[in-house]
Symmetry: C2
Subunit: 89 residues, 2 copies
């Protein structure tokens, strides 16, 4: 459960203000060798968002995407707040 | 950078033992209302893995998947260790 409390922050919330949220984190750590994979993160990001939008109806403006790099580590974070009746099926 | 150090642990590693790794975390927090989306995580997981396998060549045994639930929060974690020459393109 170590990661659970860190996701979405750790503040208690009441049911009255609860929104449905989806968070996607992709972390890519490159190896030390020159045979490492090329940078596929931008393309991967597009495809993953396309998959997610098949399951939940989301407005483009409710999707927040951030990409961080630090040395060999690249982290893509996608935060989505869903509309009240977000179910597609 | 708050999340970066937590991903993949925080231990220094030498280039000699560096492996290429990909970590995918999907967190779904349901809203308080009864109109929340149904549980799409298992199907979503399958599709996301299919997308990832288009970009990196991975052996099934190198994929570790864990699913945790805590109240309204559901967290799917996928850890992939790539082979040395993991690039597909």
């Amino acid at each position: 459960m170590s990661l659970l409390a860190r996701l979405f922050g750790n503040k208690p919330r009441t049911a009255a203000i609860a929104k449905e949220r989806l968070q996607l984190i992709i972390a890519h750590e490159r190896g030390g060798s020159s045979t490492s994979t090329p940078d596929f993160m931008p393309a991967l990001q597009q495809e993953l968002l396309a998959v997610i939008s098949k399951y939940v109806s989301v407005n483009q403006e409710d999707i927040k995407v951030t990409l961080e790099k630090q040395g060999n580590l690249e982290v893509l974070e996608v935060n989505i707040v869903m509309p009240e009746a977000g179910a597609k099926r």
